[in-house]
């Protein structure tokens, strides 16, 4: 009965395999194969941690499963809830409260309280990870939105590399000058995410949401929001200087930018490894400018960050290993090692690769970070941020950027009503 044997084998083998793998300490965010140099450094750090931790707990067979995955909102929840997810992963700051409230994250309060590096992390980052008095994440890096410009196209158009576009009008003019449909170059790359739109709303003097832990109110439907969206829609529909796909994702924009099909784009320095290693851009052609000021002269960008989180369903043994891993990753020794290796391998140094502690702020290359952080503000810490983000993006923003004749203020007001009713 050959088929029967195959069947039994087919079911028994994987069952045995998964029994053997149960309980292995698993870590996410290993850099993908496309970013070979980064992956090398990451693997070195992990191997070092593995060996040291195994010695510490006296278990020479301590194994770590390194998984090359990143946080994707819709997929992260079943992964964590499935009980076989990572023990340690990095998630974006704005998703953390929602995940914590859903019961997917382990509380790290006792560990963090006993951590000697605690005081070096700015308190505002701890607050963003605190839900109902318990701390659910450890801040590991930060980023700020900047304007990325291709040096070759910028200089060719006659601009100086010391003169970023100062305000909205200048940005529009530059985009029009750099836009060259005959050669397939678009002037400005903009992905209609709520964060990117939020930057422009702040530059117009307003906010996406107003309030605090006591209560939140949508304010994107007020005049600054309307002004920002009108400006962006003008860039898209009347000036025609945006990329051809109105709903292009950040990755698609990065590809186009690296290949010279986009002259400017809104991005974060964290994209630099992708631009250089994965899409083959020459690092010398990259210019980083701060975002322009709005009509009222307000400079604004948004600051975000990532947090290490621990799975709520991790076994006590794995939770201890997770905390040891986090501590090791954020320790001064490890951070310096990383900085040295990145220099050796010729990788661009950008703040997003390093911890938010103040250790490295004296090192060269971090001054930009200091400047940018001064005008950057984090996302509103709304409890249901991933859901609100999805609702607004697919409900309103996609509509406003694909329909030329949409009524901006009407749509925004409707969206505000809906958000207020459903999420706040």
């Amino acid at each position: 009965m050959k088929p029967l044997r195959v069947l039994v084998f087919g079911l028994a083998f994987p069952a045995a395999a998964c029994a053997a793998e149960a309980g292995v300490f698993s870590v996410w965010n290993r850099p993908p194969a496309a970013r070979a140099a980064e992956r090398k450094i990451w693997d070195e750090e992990l191997a070092d941690f593995s060996a040291t931790y195994a010695r510490t707990i006296g278990e020479p067979t301590f194994k770590v499963n390194a998984v090359s995955r990143e946080y994707v909102a819709q997929q992260f929840v079943p992964v964590m809830a499935g009980g076989k997810g990572p023990d340690v992963a990095k998630v974006r700051a704005e998703a953390l409260p929602s995940l914590a409230r859903q019961g997917l994250l382990a509380s790290l309060k006792s560990e963090v309280d006993g951590w000697d590096q605690r005081a070096f992390v700015p308190q505002v980052f701890w607050d963003a990870a605190t839900v109902e008095g318990k701390i659910y994440g450890v801040p590991c890096d930060s980023y700020v939105t900047v304007l990325m410009v291709r040096k070759d196209l910028w200089v060719q158009a006659g601009y100086s590399i010391d003169q970023p576009p100062a305000d909205w009008a200048a940005l529009e003019a530059a985009a029009k000058r750099l836009n060259d449909p005959a050669r397939g170059v678009a002037g400005f790359g903009f992905s209609p995410t709520i964060e990117a739109v939020g930057d422009f709303v702040r530059q117009a003097g307003g906010e996406l949401f107003r309030g605090g832990p006591a209560g939140w109110e949508p304010s994107f439907q007020e005049n600054p929001g309307t002004a920002a969206l009108t400006y962006l829609r003008r860039l898209r529909f009347e000036d025609g200087v945006l990329q051809s796909d109105p709903l292009a994702s950040r990755e698609e924009l990065a590809q186009l930018f690296a290949l010279g099909r986009l002259a400017m784009m809104m991005g974060v320095p964290d994209q630099m490894p992708d631009l250089i290693s994965r899409y083959g851009m020459d690092p010398g052609e990259l210019l980083l400018f701060p975002l322009p000021a709005g009509p009222t002269g307000v400079h604004a960008a948004h600051a975000g960050g990532e947090y290490f989180v621990v799975n709520a369903s991790a076994t006590p043994r794995n939770k201890a290993a997770a905390w040891a891993y986090i501590r090791t990753q954020l320790s001064p020794g490890n951070q310096l090692y990383r900085w040295r290796r990145m220099n050796e391998l010729g990788l661009p140094i950008f703040p997003g690769a390093f911890s938010t502690t103040a250790h490295l702020s004296q090192l060269p290359g971090f001054q930009l970070m200091e400047q940018a952080l001064s005008s950057a503000r984090p996302e509103p810490a709304l409890p249901k941020w991933p859901q609100i983000k999805d609702d607004l993006e697919s409900g309103v923003l996609e509509l406003l950027f694909t329909q030329a004749d949409a009524d901006v203020s009407g749509e925004l007001r409707e969206a505000a009503e809906r958000v207020r009713e459903l999420y706040l």
């Binding site: 909102a73 819709q74 997929q75 929840v77 079943p78 809830a81 859903q102 019961g103 997917l104 990329q243 051809s244 796909d245 109105p246 709903l247 709520a312 369903s313 991933p386 859901q387 999805d390 697919s394 409900g395 309103v396 996609e398 509509l399 694909t402 329909q403």
Partner: protein
Amino acid sequence: MNPREEDSRLERAYEGLLGGDVDEGVAPIPATPWEESPEAGARLPGWGGFFARPGVVAWTFLLPALAAFFVFSWLPLLRGLVLSFQDFGLVKEANWVGLDNYLRAMSDPQVIATLVHAIAFCALSLALGFWAPVALALYANELRRGRGLLKAVFFLPFLTPTVPAVLVWRWILDGGYGALNAVLSLGPWGPVRIPWLTDPALALLSLVLVFLWKTTGWNALIYQAALRDVPAEVYEIAELDGTGLWQRIRAVSLPILRPTMAFLLLMQVITTLQIFTEVHLLTGGGPANSTEMIATYMYKRSFLYLDIGYAAALGVLLFLALLGFTAARLRSLEES
């Protein structure tokens, strides 16, 4: 029995069962269950007396499948039903909310929108692609040579895994850099930049296009299989009568195909109501939710909004809708 005799008996029965000339086929004998036949009283050998009892034997055949169905099909459905009356978040405890989820579902504009999209999708795909497989099958039936090549070419989309195929289509339908726009730009009207996937009106059309690409060959093959059953005499009579080609098609081919058409129509409605992969990969729910279908909405609500009770309620409603539709269709088929 002599083995050779037994073989030839088996052979004849095999042939009759699987084809050969319709006239000479072995007609199936109406079954009296073995248990009612006179031999049943005799002592049955093998497997011991208990297991040879008719009822028990039937159970040993049915049990594995029924157990599998119970665990992997009926139990989850039941659990889904239970979940639909609860408010559940995958990790925390569930609490009962009664009919709350259902009431919310019926007044949720998004749910109504997904229904509208599903109906539009079904109607469009039928309007644009119902007759193409029929015509293809009729054509293939006339071919003397080259039928194999035709089958190979048109069956290919069905054999291709959905995910890579849909990804290719996403790249082809890209507004700025896609091949479809490139091909259309070859005309005298110059470069064309139709936003196939980013215009709310066109996105559904693009979905229909991909769906038809995938299923036309398969449908045509089924029609062709049905057409092969028509005996030659019917056509010869029609030809002798001097009826024209169109009348022949209407009088002979279409009635033959009618039951197959009804069957495929039913399958198409069921498939279009449940479509997920193509939508998720091609448009992700569409520009401004314009191609959100029931399945993608359920996925989003389950795992992004963690509104599992609500998604379960939607699932139950979907199941009931399919059940109702199928029952109505079968009843109308019986009546006709």
